[in-house]
């Protein structure tokens, strides 16, 4: 019966209930989208890195493993490392950021194909002419590129020679020497990837290499991939915390205002309930339950909106952002929003509970 009363009260002011739920849904969507995007992009980047097919990653002295722009490693190291025992393939890659999340990578296609098994071309194939460029399928889709389409990268106009399936290295690929020339890094690479003859011995291989090439840092890909997590992205955690904080404040304010308005509008009804023997706690419970129902509706709405957001990203900008759906965050956001709703309902609820039934019944 109580449930029916709450439901009918919400239905009686559908616009108020809907608007409140929608406002609550916004921070839920924000949180889920932010977390989903960071996880989606990390997963995407890990997938591309795995697609390289390397076992070991080499960085020069004093370089970090995260963020590869710049070309601090002499290219001679590639051939030196290739001579080492147990090293099946060694290849150097140069990474040039293009602003934002985009980068172009210069590869030695022959060695890279040996290591990775080669790009899987959906259209076209490897570089033929001097102005040829390879792009990933999602990039081609977003920028409506076909074979032969012109692409402006690094202040130069290229021609699409091949479109490859996603999941390998990066989205835009040029020959190594071309990028070296354009970025004034002749003879240098950003990073060297190694493939060993027996992956089971990667640990001892790394020990041997570290001893011989002092100062250089050798990291197994397994270890590197385990580092690629939300914890390795600077500012992500504080940023999420800020959004969560905003969510709490919005949820609290929306529920508090909405329920306060409802209590004022229902002064007389509350008086009637009290004349029928409803206790203070029952009246408080009614208001809190309605607030929680609104919070729950907002949570569900927010989750649905995060799917809508993902669909929009995939449809409009497939090559820029990847948003994962993060169900493990649903209960967390629900708890955040319901907690805020509960707090927001407290003041209006207590006010309703304390209302003098005689004054309430006299209220017009």
């Amino acid at each position: 019966m109580t449930f029916k009363l709450i439901l009918e009260n919400m239905r009686y002011r559908p616009l108020r209930s809907l608007l409140s739920a929608l406002l609550i849904a916004i921070p839920v969507t924000l949180i889920l989208t932010l977390v989903g995007m960071s996880q989606g992009m990390l997963a995407e980047s890990a997938r591309r890195t795995r697609g390289i097919g390397a076992d070991i990653m080499v960085r020069p002295p004093n370089a970090a493993f995260m963020g590869f722009s710049g070309a601090p490693t002499p290219e001679k190291m590639v051939s030196a490392l290739a001579q080492e025992p147990h090293i099946a393939v060694a290849t150097g890659v140069i990474v040039q950021g293009l602003g934002g999340l985009e980068n172009v990578q210069g590869v030695d296609l022959e060695q890279f194909d040996k290591m990775s098994g080669g790009f899987e071309y959906i259209q076209g194939g490897p570089f033929k002419g001097p102005d040829d460029i390879l792009v990933e399928e999602s990039y081609a889709r977003q920028h409506k590129l076909r074979l032969g389409s012109p692409v402006q990268v690094l202040g130069h106009s290229w021609r699409v020679a091949g479109i490859f399936a996603s999941g390998k290295l990066t989205r835009i690929v040029l020959p190594l020497d071309v990028v070296q020339k354009l970025t004034a890094n002749i003879g240098h690479v950003s990073i060297i990837y190694l493939k060993v003859d027996n992956p089971a011995n990667v640990g001892s291989d790394i020990d041997a290499l570290s001893k011989k090439f002092e100062g250089f840092r050798f990291l197994s890909m397994t270890e590197y991939l385990s580092m690629v997590s939300a914890d390795s992205v600077p500012f992500l955690h504080p940023f999420i915390n800020v959004i969560v904080g905003i969510g709490v404040v919005i949820g609290f304010a929306v529920v508090c205002l909405s329920m306060y308005m409802a209590v004022l509008q229902r002064t007389r009804e509350i008086g009637i309930l009290k004349s029928l023997g409803a206790s203070k706690s029952y009246v408080l419970g009614l208001i809190v339950a309605e607030a929680l129902a609104m919070g729950l509706a907002g949570t569900v709405g927010g989750i649905l909106l995060s799917f809508v957001g993902r669909w929009l990203i995939m449809t409009l900008v497939p090559a820029s952002l990847t948003q994962a759906i993060v169900p493990e965050w649903w209960p967390r956001t629900a708890a955040i929003v319901l907690g805020a709703s509960l707090l927001g309902a407290l003041y209006p609820g207590l006010r309703a509970a304390r209302q003098d039934p005689i004054e309430a019944l006299a209220y017009e």
Binding site: L5, I272, L276
Partner: protein, 227 residues
């Protein structure tokens, strides 16, 4: 055989504090009501009739005096105990019907039953009362779809659903035309005669007051002819 009165009031005073001014709503009321009685209360506006009901019904505590309802001292009750009294012992019928607008007639009654803590099993006596009230076929309608007379009969049904010892009706026909007034007054008399319901009714109308066994007059917070 003389039974103890169901309502026993001696020296009842009620002072409302409005800002810095004390308003004396009741200035020493003495009244006894027997079980099964139908008592009419008449008097000019502001004479304290509603205040008397609010105290007997546990909506507000007395300032001074003794008020015993069904054997319990209302003046000594805590807020929670008065809430329990409203649940179980007394119930109200108001001039403005006071049905919950968002619920159907049936749900208004169900909610009162739920709040009263009675179980939901079929209640033959109540079904009889619904027939008596002639509203059994209107249960699925919201108050806005009912006539004033129907609304008031639903309010009466709601008031008696938990079989209260005392029914307090504050100008129950004040908002009704004469035909509907007649119907509501008949219902109250039937409830009193057939089910032995104790009823106190405030009214302005002498014809309405005549439905009671006895009439008391109030003026300036006092009862003029003590019953």
């Amino acid at each position: 055989m003389s039974e103890a009165p169901i309502i026993e009031i001696r020296g009842l005073r009620k002072v409302y504090r409005v800002g810095k001014v004390d308003v004396e709503a009741l200035r020493g009321v003495d009244l006894q009501v027997s079980r099964g009685e139908f008592l009419s209360i008449v008097g000019p506006s502001g004479s304290g009739k509603s205040t008397l009901f609010h105290i007997v019904g546990g909506l507000t505590p007395p300032t001074a005096g003794v008020v015993r309802v069904a054997g319990d001292d209302v003046g000594a009750m805590s807020d929670a105990t008065r809430t329990r009294m409203r649940k179980q012992t007394v119930s109200f019928v108001f001039q403005k019907f006071n049905l919950l607008p968002n619920l159907t007639a049936g749900d208004n009654i169900e909610l009162a039953r739920y709040l009263g803590g009675k179980d939901h099993s079929q209640d033959a006596g109540f079904q009889e009362a619904l027939d008596l009230l002639g509203i059994a076929h209107r249960m699925g309608h919201k108050p806005s779809e009912l006539s004033g007379g129907e609304q008031q009969r639903v309010a009466i049904a709601r008031a008696i659903v938990n079989h209260p010892a005392i029914l307090l009706a504050d100008e129950p026909t004040g908002n009704l035309d004469s035909a509907n007034s007649g119907a509501v007054l008949e219902v109250l008399r039937d409830l009193n005669e057939r089910l032995g319901q104790t009823i106190l009714m405030i009214t302005h109308n002498p014809d309405a007051a005549a439905y009671g066994h006895r009439t008391v007059h109030m003026q300036d917070g006092r009862i003029l002819e003590p019953g």
